[in-house]
C-alpha cells in the first residue's frame, strides 16, 4: 500500500520515529573494553591427574583430526567434553580470579603444551598472580564448560593399527596383515593417515609410563609375537570386538545416561497404545523414525558428533569437544517433555518390553555409541559387519530383534489408524497464536480503514461492478 512520503511532522511515518530513537541510542555512557582475543575458558579437571598433566593435540580416532586431550604421565589420557548452553538460550560465565576461592579443588597448575594462554581453568593457585592481573573478573560470552574424562588409550592407537591393516587389505586381497613393532605403529599414528598430524604424540610417548600404557592397551586388541626383546603387534578385529563389547556391557549394566536412555532405549522400545485414540499416537511416527535410525546405523549420534567436531575445527584455539553433550541434552529434553505429555493419556501400551529386551537394547545403544564416537567410520562399518556375522551374537540379540519387529508392526498399524481418524482432530490454539492472530487482524483492520479513507464513493461502487468477460488493460496495451 502506498504510504505518505513526508517526513516532517508526520505521525504516520515510522521512519522519522525510528531515526530519532536510534540517534538517541547510539551514545552510551559506558564503553566496553575490547574483547579479549583469548577469553578464559573453564575446565573441570580430574582430581587424580598429576601436576605434570598437559593439554596436548592428538589425533581424534573417529575423525582423524588433531583434537585436544589431557595427558597425565601417570594416570593416563583424558578427553574433553564441552558442555554448553544451547544457542537458543545464550548464557555467560562471570569468572572471578580471587585468591581466596582458589582452594575449591586441589588441582594443580597446568600449562598447556602448546599454548600457554590456555592454562586458565576452574581453579587457580596463588602463584598465578599475573593471570589475575590479566583477567581479574571476566565475563565470557561462551558459557562453556570443558570436562575432562578418562579415555581408553586403545582408541587413540586404533587408527594406526587399522590404517595399516586397511592399506594392506586393499592392496593384496586377504593378505595376512603384518606384525609391526609398537614403534612402527606409533610412527603411523604420528603421520596421522593423510595430512593431519598428531603433533604431540612423539613428545607424549616420552613421558613417564605413557608409552607402557599405550603398549599394554595395544596388546589387548592385537595378536602379538615376540621377536627377540621386542613385541610385534597386529590388530585382531575379533579381539577388538570383544573389547568393545566388554566396554558396552559395562556401560549398559547400570542404566545409560538419562538422555540416551530416554531417546534410544525407552523411545525405541515404546509400543504405541492402540486402544486410546487421543494424543498418544502423536508420538508414534516420530518414534518409529528414531528406532529406524538407532537400529540401522545409529545415525543420530553420528550427526551430533559431527556437529561437535565442526565446532572443534572452526575454533582451533578452544579445547577439545568430543561429544557435544549439549545438543543431545536439548533434543532429548524436548523428547522428554513430549513423553510426559503423552504419558498423561497413556493407558496401556500394546506390548511391554521385558527387562531382558531392555538390557539388550541398552547394550546395543552403548555399542553404537562407542562405534560412532571413538572408532573411525570405515573401521566401525567393518566391525558392524562382523557383529552381524557372529552367530552367537545374533542369537543373543534375538529376543530384542523379535520385539522390535513387533513394535514396528504395531506402529505401522497405529499410524494407519491415526490417519483414518485424523479429520476429527482439531488443533487447539495456544495463547501465543491467539495473540498473533489478534494482532494480525488489528493490523489488517487498520490498513483497511486507512485505505477506505482514501477511497471515493465512485471507486467503491465501481468495485462492485461485474467485470466478467472484460479483459485487463494490460492484455491490450503492453507495459512500457
Amino acid at each position: 500500500m502506498a504510504r505518505t512520503r513526508s517526513k516532517g511532522g508526520a505521525t504516520t511515518t515510522t521512519k522519522s520515529a525510528s531515526k530519532s530513537q536510534s540517534s538517541a541510542g547510539t551514545e552510551s555512557r559506558y564503553t566496553l573494553p575490547d574483547e579479549s582475543p583469548n577469553p578464559p575458558k573453564i575446565f573441570i579437571l580430574p582430581r587424580k591427574a598429576t601436576p605434570e598433566a598437559r593439554v596436548v593435540s592428538l589425533l581424534n580416532p573417529r575423525y582423524g583430526k588433531p583434537t585436544r586431550y589431557l595427558v597425565c604421565p601417570s594416570t593416563g589420557v583424558y578427553e574433553f567434553t564441552r558442555i554448553a548452553a544451547p544457542k537458543s538460550t545464550p548464557r555467560s560465565w562471570l569468572i572471578e580470579h580471587s585468591t581466596s576461592s582458589s582452594t575449591t579443588t586441589s588441582n594443580s597448575e597446568l600449562p598447556s603444551a602448546s599454548q600457554s594462554e590456555e592454562k586458565d581453568k576452574e581453579t587457580t593457585t596463588t602463584e598465578k598472580g599475573q593471570d589475575e592481573d590479566e583477567f581479574g573478573a571476566y565475563i565470557t560470552k561462551g558459557a562453556e564448560l570443558f570436562v575432562a574424562t578418562p579415555v581408553d588409550p586403545v582408541f587413540l592407537v586404533l587408527p594406526a593399527l587399522s590404517s595399516s591393516s586397511a592399506e594392506e587389505g586393499g592392496a593384496s586381497n586377504k593378505k595376512k596383515k603384518l606384525f609391526l613393532s609398537s614403534d612402527d605403529h606409533f610412527d603411523n599414528l604420528a603421520r596421522g593417515g593423510q595430512d593431519a598430524l598428531s603433533p604431540h604424540l612423539g613428545e607424549v610417548l616420552r613421558w613417564g609410563n605413557i608409552r607402557a600404557l599405550f603398549e599394554s592397551r595395544m596388546a589387548v586388541v592385537c595378536d602379538t609375537v615376540d621377536a627377540g626383546d621386542e613385541s610385534m603387534y597386529r590388530l585382531s578385529e575379533e579381539k577388538l570386538l570383544a573389547v568393545l563389547l566388554d566396554k558396552a556391557r559395562s556401560m549398559s549394566t547400570t542404566s545409560l545416561p538419562p538422555s540416551m536412555e530416554e531417546k534410544f532405549v525407552a523411545k525405541a522400545l515404546e509400543a504405541p497404545v492402540l486402544s486410546v485414540k487421543r494424543e498418544t499416537p502423536a508420538a508414534a511416527p516420530q518414534a518409529s523414525t528414531e528406532t529406524l535410525a538407532s537400529q540401522s546405523a545409529v545415525s543420530t549420534p553420528k550427526v551430533e558428533n559431527s556437529e561437535s567436531q565442526s565446532s572443534v575445527s572452526s575454533a582451533d584455539t578452544t579445547s577439545t569437544t568430543v561429544s557435544d553433550a549439549s545438543t543431545a541434552a536439548t533434543s532429548v529434553a524436548a523428547a522428554e517433555e513430549e513423553a510426559a505429555n503423552s504419558e498423561a493419556f497413556e493407558l496401556k501400551p500394546a506390548i511391554v518390553a521385558s527387562p531382558e529386551v531392555i538390557s539388550l537394547q541398552r547394550l546395543r545403544t552403548a555399542l553404537s555409541f562407542i562405534l560412532s564416537s571413538y572408532v573411525a567410520p570405515a573401521q566401525a562399518a567393518r566391525l558392524r559387519e562382523q557383529l552381524g556375522a557372529r552367530a552367537e551374537l545374533q542369537a543373543e540379540f534375538g529376543p530384542l530383534d523379535d520385539y522390535l519387529g513387533r513394535v514396528a508392526a504395531l506402529r505401522q498399524e497405529a499410524v494407519a489408524a491415526r490417519s483414518m481418524a485424523d479429520y476429527s482432530r482439531k488443533r487447539v490454539l495456544d495463547d501465543e497464536e491467539l495473540a498473533e492472530r489478534a494482532e494480525k487482524k488489528r493490523r489488517k483492520d487498520e490498513d483497511d480503514k486507512r485505505k477506505k479513507a482514501g477511497l471515493s464513493r465512485g471507486v467503491k461502487t465501481l468495485g462492485k461492478v461485474n467485470t466478467s468477460g472484460m479483459k485487463k488493460m494490460s492484455d491490450f496495451f503492453k507495459k512500457k
Binding site: 502506498a2 479513507a453 471515493s456 468477460g469
Partner: protein
Amino acid sequence: MLEARLDKANDLKKVVDAIKDLVQDCNFDCNDSGLALQAMDNSHVALVSMMYKAEAFSPYRCDRNIALGVNLVSLTKVLRAAQNDDVLTLKAEDAPDSLNLVFESSASDRVSEYDLKLMDIDQEHLGIPETEYAATITMPSGEFRRICTDLMAMSESVTIEASKDGVKFAANGDIGNGSVTLRSHQEVDKEENNIDIELTEPVSLTFSLKYLVNFCKAQPLSTRVKICLSNEVPLLVEYGLAGTSYLRFYLAPKIGDEE
C-alpha cells in the same frame, strides 16, 4: 522544481472530479511538456490517460521529471477550498514530499496556500499505440451522458453498434429493452450540437454501463466528446481540454456471455 500556474482553478478541479471516481491514487508525471497522468481502476479493465500540456499553463516550468503521487480524494478536498475563478499555482521541489497549491483570488486580495502530502505509488505504465479506429463518433458530451444514464435504468451493459445507418446504443435488461440511435447531424449555427460519424467498417461492441456513466463525470470539461470503437480493442472516450490537452478513458469490451 515544478511551477505551473493555471488561470482557472476550476479547470483542474473538473479534471480531478472526473478521475477521482475511477482511481484513488495516481501519479501526476511532470516533465517539460506538461502534466501527464495514466492510471487504471482497481479491476484494471478501464484506464484513464490525461495530458495537460505545458501551453495550458502560464507560466509552466519543470526542470526535472517529477512524479507527484496523489490521493485524489485528498486532492479534491484541497481543491474544494479554491474558488472557481481563482488563479491556481502548483509548486513542487525536485524530490518532493508534498505538493504546494496556492489559490489567488483575482478580485479580492486573498491568497490561500495548501500543502498536500505525497505518496509513493507503484504504477506500471502501459504503452498505448495510436490506433486507427473503425468508427469514430463525435457528439455533444451532454448527449452521450444522457444516453448512458437513460440506458443504465434498463441494463448493466450497453451494446454500441455503428453501421452506415447510424450508431445504436442498445440495452437489454430484466425489465425490458431500450435503445437510442443517433444519425449524422450538422447544425451550422450551433456547431457544438453536431454529430459526426466516421466509419470505415461496421462495429458492434458491448460495454459496462457503470463504467461509461463514470466516464461521463468528465462532461463538464468539454462540450464535445469523441468515442472511438474498433473490434477487439478497448473503447476510447476522449474529452478535449484547453488547446490540445486531453482526457482519455479506455474501457475493455465485454466479450462472450452477455447477461
